[in-house]
């Protein structure tokens, strides 16, 4: 009964400045009907500004925001019909749980019995059935989070906005809620825009991720592509661990320290590129491996982290790369000592080039 088909959102040319600073710089983004889209970026990147503009709490300087075909940029927040979950939940402490959840229905002047019914259904949906009479201060952080969610979905909005809703929870609860939110989205089908600065959360939950920095869209893609094929250095750096190796280019051939690289998808554009090396994608090789790109060097530091360990390796030309290895018995890195020389291979598919510029304007 709470299901609703999501609405597509079209954001075009949205600009918001604070003095000389662009919080959003002529921002364009098309969010598909019913998708779970995450806005990911460091603090001050403009992701929250964009979410607040979608909710109507922040008035951009110019631009257009459409829910389906309806232009809503001039619509006040209370006429937008979007559900919103705030970072600190913004539950009303002077009302019971039921009154909080029923608040949007009461504003819409629904009859009392319908309100009671829908409130209970929404509380059931977030697994808080029977909690209606409680007071907000009697709830744990996780329960408050669920109440905030129930309140945001109870009136059947076709768009749901969430502003770092899990950031106040501890790690275990957060991971459980990530899965639950994901399931809820699949069940209810509303278009969901989710803001976070936690890359792992974004990778776990999203259909697509929009990486934002300095008020601009850095990359919009599926989690897999964002991680494996970052469009620029900023995205590669912000998501996952990475080392960048400088390359020399002659035509379509790229060389690292004089050795040509084996590549699956050599870039077609001009300009300089760097090789992105993810620590977990390297593996130790002993013999010849003609299909791998090989990096040999001396171990300078070993760090044990429980599930994995990290080795820092200084390559012949001086760059230090990080290598992540499983702590399984028999792994070559586990037996190594500082000062040992080892060779690491990177497969063609994992050898990704990113433009040497960091994706910023002219930088």
């Amino acid at each position: 009964m709470l299901e609703s088909a999501g609405l597509p959102i079209t954001i075009s040319g949205v600009t918001k400045t604070y003095g000389a600073v662009y919080a959003l710089d002529s921002f364009d983004l098309a969010i598909q009907q019913g998708e779970f889209l995450t806005l990911l970026g460091p603090s001050g990147s403009g992701k929250t500004t964009l979410l607040m503009a979608l909710a109507g709490f922040l008035r951009p300087d110019s631009g257009s925001i459409k829910f389906a075909d309806r232009e809503i940029i001039l619509t006040p927040p209370h006429k937008r019909d979007v559900g919103m979950v705030f970072q600190n939940y913004a539950l009303f402490p002077h009302m019971t749980v039921a009154a909080n959840v029923g608040y949007p229905l009461k504003l819409r002047k629904r009859p009392a019995d319908e309100i009671a019914e829908k409130v209970e259904a929404a509380l059931d949906t977030v697994q808080l059935g029977g909690y209606g009479a409680r007071r907000i201060y009697q709830l744990s952080g996780g329960q408050r989070q669920r109440v905030a969610l129930a309140r945001a979905i109870v009136f059947g909005p076709r768009i749901l906005l969430m502003d770092e809703p899990l950031s106040a929870l501890d790690k275990q609860l957060r991971e459980r809620m990530q899965i639950e939110l994901r399931h809820l989205h699949e069940r209810l089908g509303m278009t969901t825009v989710y803001v976070t600065h936690d890359q792992r959360e974004a990778l776990t939950m999203s259909d697509r991720i929009a990486v934002i920095n300095h008020g601009r869209l850095m990359q919009l893609d599926t989690p897999r592509h964002i991680y494996d094929r970052p469009a620029n250095r900023f995205v590669a750096d912000f998501i996952g661990e990475s080392t960048f190796l400088p390359l020399t280019r002659s035509g379509d051939e790229f060389q690292f320290a004089g050795t040509p690289l084996h590549l699956d998808q050599p870039p077609t554009g001009g300009g300089d590129y760097m090789l992105l090396v993810r620590p977990e994608r390297l593996k130790v090789v002993d013999g010849p491996a003609p299909d791998l790109n090989i990096f040999a060097g001396e171990i300078t530091e070993l760090v044990f982290q429980g599930d994995t360990s990290l080795a820092y390796v200084r390559l012949a030309e001086g760059t230090v790369i990080a290598v992540r290895a499983s702590t399984r018995a028999g792994e070559a890195v586990q037996d190594a000592k500082v000062g040992d020389r080892l060779s690491f291979g990177l497969s063609r598919a994992d050898s990704v080039l990113v433009p040497a510029e960091d994706g910023e304007d002219g930088a």
Binding site: S12, D61, S62, E71, I73, L74
Partner: protein, 298 residues
Amino acid sequence: MSAAGDTALNARLLQRDASVERWSLLGLASPAILVVMVVMVLPVGWLFYLSFLGDDGQFSLENYNRMIESKAYGRIFWTTFKVSVLTTLICILIGYPLAYFLAQLPSRMANICLLTVLLPFWTSLLVRTYAWLVLLQRKGLLNRWAMDIGLWDEPVKLVHNLNGTLIGMVHIMLPFLVLPLYGSMKAISEDYMKASSNLGAGPVQTFWHVFFPLSLPGLFAGALIVFVLCLGFFVTPAVLGGGRVIMVAMQITTNIELFFNWGAASALGVVLLILTLGILFAASRALRLDNILGGGHG
């Protein structure tokens, strides 16, 4: 996408909405502003103008000249200054230990003890002045008790002079010092005291080296309020001073009620206002005015 046309249009409408919101929020303050303008700003401006008019209605500085030349006026300003400084000093001397004591109490006890500061604070100033008049007069309670226990033999003149004025004014002003000071003392984290002890300071050293400096802004704020309020005081010196302690505010009243001399009264008022604002302005450079007034913004 019809981007160019759309965005240009929206920019104008968004700007219009933004300014409507901005002005309607400020508009919420307009009734209050209006009352303050009509009842305070406008009249005070008018008095300012009057103070520069001579008896003949022409522009003149005679009202100010009189203040400089007349010995009587000099004495009034000196009295005002003396009473204000003495009141402030006595308030600091007895208010600081009291605030310190209150700040160290467990909160339930502190709330009860604070009532002894709050109740007089909100009791009519006139009532309290009257009570002191009754207590301090020649045949009053204090004189009788003092003679009963042999402190002195003859009734001592405790009221209708500077002593009586000071006793009454300190009593009325003390809460203005204690309340902000208490607040600022409560805000000092106990961790500093622990750290100081841990570093080897004894209780007395810790107090003077750590606690006292940290409590100074609150003390300064409270003392400033007391001093500024004293400058404009009227009721207490009028009743307890018995005509021997004449402060600026009383002279203003006399000028109007007895002599109908608006020019002279206005000039005194202007000087009083400028002194008050000048002191506050000077102080606000040392310490932000917000802290004294409570501030409006988060």
